[in-house]
């Protein structure tokens, strides 16, 4: 049986641009080959759409995602370079700037989408296969040139080597044409054994670190184009409102102001400088409509509403995960317990605020846009729908992002839309920049949630039935209604983590009580797991206490069929000195993200005034094959710090439809003097990679809450654990 496809298959052959051009030079000696390639115009060898081997010593690899700090920009091309057996120094990375679905993310239905820690997970297989396919073609060309069997040849970085020592660089081979070459089927081409890896699993420096250490990395907010002007947008104070009247006389009279542009939900001042635009914005007098239902949104009432929904057993719910008969098991258990957990809204707080540059063509039929977003597809969609033009007429420049954490994922990106409309109005390129206050007040949030968990215990103190109800809105329904139409009622953004899939619980159920949305929402690092795992793992500790068991032993019962999870529990116990902890206030939590598992132990100190200080954090993570160990360490550590920050500090309040907070002074995130030493173990396993960008975050809140119980005997059940809530718990 052969899985090979001959070159006459046009669907594959179309990438082979070198075909035929160098046929006359076939089957000549090495020295002649070199001579010929020097006299032939450089013709790249494009075996497939992922890469181009050029005669000038450069191998260009497509980077299909976007970069927000997670380092996929380096990591994904490394995967292809491994199977190609290329010298990493020969690799040039090409940012994909088009909505070209050939490169789509398989875990998001082929949409170009960088989210959910899926980059390596999604592209590991296709990019390995693309590299292996190209390597096989290079071997065939070399075999033909050298007059030997392909099977006698080997590759070294960027070269094919014959048994007699003759050596042909990939760049020489690229120019020799593909006469007689049979392109192997990409689905069945042989891949390396992991023991042969030279790049995957090794620590190559990130490609962007030098630029980011010298101020030369270019973010969307830094883009300059000829004739560009600046836009500052006065946005409607409440979602759903619009300008009824605009008095822009004073604003327009300011030096440098070019125009004032009405937007669907705001008013943009366009000026020669950002300073002028911001100053004039302050002089706009706008009467806003006041009829939006969002005017009634108040976060305190929202949480009351969600609590009532979580506690109402009759409330309609979508079952998210189910195994056995949870309700029946709990009803017949020896003892039963129930607890409620709450979590407030949270904001992304990425340090680059929203910014985009748009240059709409004079005829209005096309546009060039510079933006940092997590999706080429939806950014192109935003521009195309704003101008009512074909998506092919949108020319994107996907910029590296100053953090994102889910912030730039929406189907329609209003900051991009505003730049496009502003450019269209003034006939010049416009850079729209949000101030920090704009970014907070118009934030798209992690939803507030109320969660009720019921569970039973056997007479021997083992878990006997688990029923987790999460009352929170659909996030997807807001930030991507088209996607919601495809997946409802299953909202992974709202519910992830509630499936508790790393434990073997015989009678299990998790329900989503889909509550009314009362804020603008978006994915947020860890998505649902950032609060569902808090509830689940805090409750697990309460059950262990009720059972009179050590929290570690209680969990070990549940991982009998998950040896990799058991290894992590045992490992982190060893790292943290769990078994001999004495009076140290340690808290254990086993969470994760998607299929990546993370076990964490927090050590804390509680201050009299209600402050919690995390003094140490240990974690053991299993994310399958690790492509970039050093970067994975950085990502996991960052995820844990994000988790500590959100557990201790981060809270958005809404009153009368407006976000109360303004800036980092009233939405505080963790600072240098609050960061503990973090000890990270990553399991070395032969299993597909499943992502490291978010696995650090979900475990943290419960680890801290459980450590708080170890320190004080009290429970924290409302995120974040602010000094007021800590004080309240201490006095309870």
């Amino acid at each position: 049986m052969t899985n090979s496809t001959p070159t006459s298959d046009l669907s594959r052959r179309k990438f082979l641009q070198g075909t035929g051009l160098v046929f006359a030079f076939g089957a000549v000696g090495v020295s002649s080959v070199t001579g010929c390639s020097q006299s032939t115009p450089p013709v790249p060898l494009d075996v497939n759409h992922w890469l181009s081997v050029q005669s000038n010593g450069v191998i260009s690899i497509v980077f299909p995602s976007t970069e927000m700090g997670q380092s996929s920009y380096s990591t994904l091309p490394q995967i292809l370079a491994e199977e190609l057996d290329a010298d990493w120094d020969d690799i040039e990375i090409r940012q994909l700037n088009e909505d070209d679905r050939r490169f789509g993310n398989p875990l998001f239905g082929g949409v170009l989408y960088t989210a959910g820690s899926t980059g390596v997970q999604s592209y590991y297989e296709p990019m390995r296969r693309a590299g292996a396919q190209a390597r096989d073609v290079l071997l065939q060309i070399a075999a033909r040139e050298l007059g030997v069997e392909k099977t006698t040849l080997q590759t070294e970085p960027s070269a094919v080597v014959a048994p007699d020592g003759r050596r042909l660089s990939y760049f020489d081979l690229a120019g020799l044409g593909v006469e007689g070459v049979v392109i192997p089927d990409v689905e069945t081409v042989a891949l390396k054994d992991r023991s042969a890896f030279r790049i995957i699993g090794k620590d190559l420096p990130r490609r962007d670190v030098v630029a980011k250490s010298t101020g030369r990395a270019e973010f969307a907010i830094d883009v300059e184009v000829t004739e560009m002007v600046y836009g500052a947008v006065l946005r409607a104070p409440v979602e759903g409102e619009r300008a009824l009247s605009i008095d822009d006389a004073q604003a327009k009279a300011m030096p440098g102001v070019i125009d004032v542009v009405e937007l669907p939900d705001g008013v943009a001042v366009i000026a020669e400088s950002l300073w002028a635009a911001l100053g004039a914005r302050g002089l706009l007098i706008v009467e806003w409509s006041s009829t939006s239902p969002a005017r009634s949104f108040s976060s305190a009432e929202t949480l009351d509403l969600y609590t009532a929904a979580a506690e109402d057993a009759a409330a309609e719910a979508a079952t998210w995960a189910e195994k056995g008969d949870a309700v029946g098991a709990i009803a017949s258990a020896d003892r039963t317990f129930s607890q409620l957990y709450l979590s407030d809204y949270a904001y992304h707080a990425q340090i680059e605020p929203m910014a985009a540059v748009a240059s709409v063509d004079a005829d209005g039929q096309g546009a060039e846009v510079w933006a940092g977003t997590q999706t080429q597809s939806w950014t192109a969609h935003t521009v195309a729908t704003t101008l009512d033009i074909p998506v092919e007429n949108v020319r994107l420049n996907m910029m590296t992002m100053g953090g994102s954490f889910g912030r730039r994922t929406a189907l329609v990106q209003n900051y991009v839309r505003d730049a496009v409309l502003s450019s269209q109005a003034v006939g010049r390129p416009v850079k729209v920049i949000w101030t920090r206050e704009d970014d907070v007040k118009n934030g798209t949030l992690r939803p507030a949630a109320a969660q009720k968990i019921d569970a039973g215990l056997t007479a021997q103190g083992r878990l006997d039935g688990w029923y987790h109800r999460v009352a929170t809105p659909t996030v997807i329904g807001f930030f991507n209604p088209v996607r919601w139409g495809q997946v409802q009622p299953n909202d992974v953004i709202s519910m992830r983590g509630a499936e508790s899939k790393f434990y073997g619980i015989d009678d299990f159920r998790a329900d989503h009580v889909i509550t009314p949305r009362q804020a603008r929402l978006a994915p947020w690092r860890g998505i649902g797991a950032s609060y569902t795992s808090f509830a689940a793992e805090a409750f697990m500790d309460e059950l262990a206490e009720q059972a009179g068991r050590d929290p570690l032993d209680f969990r070990l019962d549940l991982v009998a069929e998950n040896p990799r999870g058991r290894h992590l529990l045992e490992k982190v116990a060893e790292m943290s000195g769990w078994r001999s902890r004495g009076g140290r206030a340690l808290g254990l939590s086993f969470a994760g993200y998607s299929s990546s598992m993370g076990v964490g132990v927090a050590e804390i100190e509680v201050e009299d005034w209600g402050g919690i200080r995390v003094t140490n954090f240990w974690t053991a993570v299993d994310a399958g094959q690790i492509v970039s160990p050093d970067n994975s360490h950085n990502q996991i550590e960052g995820g844990i710090i994000f988790g500590i920050s959100s557990a201790l500090k981060e809270r958005i309040d809404i009153e009368n439809g407006e976000i109360v907070q303004n800036n980092y002074y009233d939405y505080e995130v963790l600072r240098a003097n609050e960061v503990p030493p973090i000890d990270i173990y990553m399991a070395d396993v032969d299993a597909p990679p499943v992502g490291v960008g978010e696995v650090g975050t979900p475990m943290v809140s419960a680890a801290i809450a459980n450590a708080f119980h170890a320190a004080t005997g009290k429970r924290l059940r409302h995120l974040p654990f602010t000094p007021e809530r800590v004080t309240q718990a201490l006095q309870s």
């Binding site: 420096p205 980011k212 340090i351 550590e637 844990i640 980092y664 240098a672 960061v675 973090i678």
Partner: protein
């Protein structure tokens, strides 16, 4: 005209003296390495040196630096080889990188004040700047490396 020394060169700027120094540096003088993050002296992405002292450039006006020596990330070294920049690369500090110009400028001021800082000196000093990606522990290690090797 406001005159000052920028990264070792005399410059004269015609903008109004009350304009925000950060925006003058970025948009008038086209030095984009200094970042806007909050405009409120909270995040430190805009940190520069004025007469050798780390300052939030979002809190200064152009007129404030009349006659002063201003250094931005672009002027910290000629070729990106300041001991801190080398240490940043060695420790692979950045993730998104947006805050790192400010972190490096803050760290350079720290090492100027305290050439051999303790870990407590470092965490206290660096608390003026935020990193949302959570690279703090690498920042500490890079500063310690630069202090030893610098």
């Amino acid at each position: 005209m406001t005159g000052f020394v920028l990264n070792g060169q005399n410059v004269e700027v015609a903008n109004a003296p009350e304009e925000m120094l950060l925006l003058i540096l970025r948009d008038t003088l086209n030095l984009k390495g200094t970042k806007y993050g909050c405009g409120a002296a909270q995040c430190g992405a805009c940190t520069i040196h004025v007469d050798g002292v780390a300052m939030y450039s979002c809190q200064m006006s152009l007129g404030d630096v009349e006659g002063a020596e201003v250094t931005t990330i672009e002027g910290l070294s000629d070729d990106g080889t300041h001991p801190l920049q080398k240490a940043w690369v060695e420790e692979q500090v950045p993730q998104c990188g947006y805050c790192q110009s400010g972190q490096i400028m803050r760290a350079a001021a720290l090492l100027s004040d305290i050439p051999e800082p303790s870990r407590e000196d470092i965490t206290a000093y660096m608390s003026a700047n935020l990193c949302r990606c959570g690279t703090y522990n690498r920042i500490f290690k890079a500063i310690e490396r630069a202090a030893q090797e610098g």
